[in-house]
Subunit: 421 residues, 2 copies
């Protein structure tokens, strides 16, 4: 069914109402029915491979004409391998444990009332994302499995790819007798539609932005609907006086250099002034191709390091650059992280269990690690299956957000006629 | 320390920064230390009884001069009995289980990483409330016990009472070596301070409004900070065809008439058309002093009922008035509640377990009950101890919100040197 796309507010309102109606239905679907729909949707993606790849080729041609960067073109590109991964991803979500109906806790009151808190879907989820067309399938699968309807708004550069993937998903849902309005794609690239989604209080229950910092910042700034996201991943690794030098070196290099463009990459290395062997760590980073922006101690120790400016402590490089600062003990590290961190992921390296527990307790980030690389900050690594994103806000869900984060709960009270005195 | 109150935005910003600093400290306090502070605070309230009652007498005198309604004056009034209840309430919170540090779940990954999710305080809580001065002590106690700093903004009509109670609480905290900035009272009655709190994104983590619908509506409309609240309590009781008639009558009368002014009071009675004995229920309500606004079936059955208008289905009377509608089976009730309910508390009365489960599953409210009075919608009745409020939003916490609702969680990852491949 095509709707007018001339008025984005009316368009989003109409989509929202249809999403709400679908959400009411899919909230009550048994797990087996949702799984079946995901399996038929995955099959439909495979069956539509030629159509999807043809649509993607057109997007890629436009992207080259419009001068998209090689990195953006790579994110946009689909091929049969990536399409198979997309279908397999949907099937993997089908196999994840269904959070809906899970009992969080139960109690029996002295008057005999039986209380239980059970997980229920959030309702209608809005996803606003950029060039990667696989988000269309990933996000739709996670929302459906958790009993939520979803309104997807992808980037204009991927619009043909997204429409083709969405058409396949819709065909899959229809084949499994699941309302197609459960997965809707905003059919216009008009940017006003994003504004309409952000303002759709009461129609959309939560917005999840997936993309670069500019997108997330705009969404967080303008949204009247709650947002689940992280703006920055200014992650720290702190090398304590009691760190094992070999472990520290290995973790520091991995935390920064395994992949520099991910949100869990360490951006600042903090080193206890009393730690005996800092130089091998600095040298290993530089040898691995990393530039160092350090404080005076760092620069004195490792001549290849540049001097850091104050702004370095609050910079997410997402690149082969690291800032390095020497601090006084674990409390100095905790203070630096409280002042400059973004609440994402921070790690301590130490063989001293007591110091580790001080750090784990005092650092107020979504993820706090001991003797591990910050690059583990990822829903799959945490065993959650796919993730819808990583959240640094303090409400509802923090850290990697997967199926459970797409649910809320309700209280069930079972009585035998109790009235309140 | 006195601060300038001429600029409410600067004032709230300064309070927010001091609250954040205090929050960082009290987040790490052991349970025993927080309990001790609450006990000394309760003692300080008792010790300050004369001062508090004198301040309250001045507020009451002003209130009479300013023509406050008898109901408002009653909410404002303190006496030695109410003051003792306030102190005992603080002591009761001291005895509640501390949620901070509780492990929500744990897992060990195949690579040996140990994951745990532990509860941590939200941070800085803002409470905006009206005439009841006891909220000053109740809310402060709940926030301190859950490791949060709190910024309290009470009604101007209770300003002297609130200042006196706050001074006593501060003295109690100081005696227990807890930073007094953990419990701050906005020292101005300038309404612009409320606006500054609602806009204090990054300084205040959550706002809890406590008061009438106008206050809650303003807060929900204007807040840029997340809000935990309910706007309406349009609660339903549905009498199914398989309801026990005696139980149904008793529950319906209690759900409406036990206290008509509470948010858990039933406002609409839904009755299955096939239910055999509706008239005794309608008669019992009227005999108990309740006015009925009913649909055509109701009016035909009980001549003392008035005809309902469409607006009655979305009205929270908070009074001895009930709307009554006959519906087609449990699905009719579910549909009516989806259309007109406020997501607070809804109940079914039936002896049919299968029908009850359909209702419990399909009604998407914060609290859904079977064979019990909606008046049980209360944190104390749920065994949560004191409650900070009842929330009908879908995120973070729903239904009665107590200590746990004032926390979030973080992920702790304990490793032995793992790096990510």
């Amino acid at each position: 069914m095509l709707q007018s796309t001339s008025d984005p507010v009316a368009l989003v309102a109409d989509m929202g109402r249809r999403a709400r109606a679908a959400a009411t239905q899919i909230a009550r679907l048994p797990t087996s029915h949702k799984c079946k729909a995901l399996m038929t949707a995955a099959a439909a993606v495979r069956d539509s491979a030629a159509t999807i790849l043809a649509a993607n080729a057109e997007d890629m041609a436009d992207g080259r004409t419009n001068g998209l960067s090689p990195a953006m073109l790579d994110r946009l590109a689909l091929n049969s391998e990536r399409l198979e991964a997309m279908a397999a991803g949907i099937e993997a979500v089908a196999q994840l444990r269904d959070p809906v109906g899970m009992v969080i806790d139960e109690a029996i009151r002295p008057n005999g009332l039986k209380l239980s808190r059970v997980r229920v879907p959030l309702g209608v989820v809005g996803i606003i994302y950029e060039s990667r067309p696989n988000v269309t399938a990933d996000a739709a699968a996670l929302c459906l499995k958790s009993g939520n309807a979803v309104i997807l708004r992808g980037g204009s550069e991927a619009s043909r790819s997204n429409r083709a993937i969405h058409a396949a998903l819709s065909a899959g849902l229809a084949k499994a007798d699941v309302p197609v309005d459960a997965i809707q794609l905003v059919p216009t690239t008009d940017r006003a539609a994003v504004g309409a989604m952000l303002a759709a209080h009461g129609l959309i229950d939560i917005i999840v932005p997936r993309g670069g910092k500019a997108l997330v910042a705009r969404v967080q700034e303008d949204a009247r609907v709650p947002v689940l996201a992280h703006l920055d991943g200014i992650c720290h690794t702190y090398i304590d006086v009691d760190a094992d030098p070999a472990k520290a070196k290995q973790i520091a290099v991995n935390a920064k250099m395994r992949r520099t463009g991910v949100c869990g990459a360490t951006e600042t290395l903090l080193i206890d002034r009393k730690f005996a062997e800092p130089l091998p760590i600095l040298a290993a980073l530089i040898d691995a191709g990393c530039a160092i922006r350090g404080d005076a101690t760092t620069v004195a120790l490792e001549p290849r390091a540049e001097a850091a400016e104050d702004s370095d402590w609050e910079t997410e490089y997402l690149d082969a650059i690291i800032s390095v600062r020497f601090v006084d003990s674990v409390e100095g590290a905790i203070g630096h992280i409280a002042a400059y961190g973004s609440g994402h992921t921070d790690a301590i390296v130490t063989e001293n269990a007591a110091t580790a527990e001080i750090f784990l307790s005092a650092v107020d980030s979504a993820i706090v690690m001991h003797n591990a690389s910050t690059q583990f900050a990822d829903g799959a690594e945490f065993g959650l299956g796919a993730e819808i994103g990583i959240a640094t806000g303090r409400l509802h869900a923090r850290g990697p957000v997967a199926l459970e984060g797409l649910t809320t709960y309700k209280w069930l009270v079972r009585g035998t006629g109790q009235i309140r005195p």
